[in-house]
Symmetry: C2
Subunit: 106 residues, 2 copies
């Protein structure tokens, strides 16, 4: 996997290394779909703790890791917090229409 480190970004695949099966797998979990829908609905970069999710903190951390490693979200380190954002431009460039159709259906 090609990995890019930018400033304070946690390691993530470059745009061209984002693979469809990994993205679909990352989106195939109801909790991760809720995270993605919440990120799509905000201009902010909420930390993991800002999400109201029915799972433990370690499970939550795992879900964000799966999303980041698949290329669905970016995480920036700010002190002890990780700020999350959707990689909408990268996903739209790689898989036109996919994210929108998933968000409409979620």
């Amino acid at each position: 996997m090609i990995v890019v480190q930018e400033q304070d970004h946690v390691a993530q695949p470059a745009r061209e290394a984002i693979e469809l099966p990994a993205v679909l797998h990352a989106l195939s979990d109801p909790v991760r779909l809720r995270i993605v829908a919440a990120l799509a609905a905000t201009e902010e970069q909420p930390a993991c703790g800002a999400f109201d999710l029915p799972v433990t903190k370690s499970t939550c951390t795992h879900h964000f890791k799966v999303l980041r490693e698949a290329g669905v979200i970016s995480q920036r380190q700010r002190g002890t917090a990780r700020l999350n954002s959707l990689r909408r431009a990268d996903l739209d460039a790689r898989f036109p229409g996919l994210l929108d159709s998933v968000l409409r259906a979620a």
Copy 2:
């Protein structure tokens, strides 16, 4: 899971019981993506053996089962063969644009 039995159809979820996470999971495997792309490209209902896939017969059978149980494909029993078809109308009705965006990207 709501299950419908029609004529010689192998059990599958009704349209309204098709769930997004299960569909995304079914599509999150490269071999299953190849199967779906092949079914999308034909008017026929090919049997499992007609697909040129780099997996054993039992793995192949497993992949078709995952696709059927998620509501992505239908299977009809014809003697000892199972004929496969994509549930395009059901998927398009439940998740508009999703299948097309996946097929474009696959």
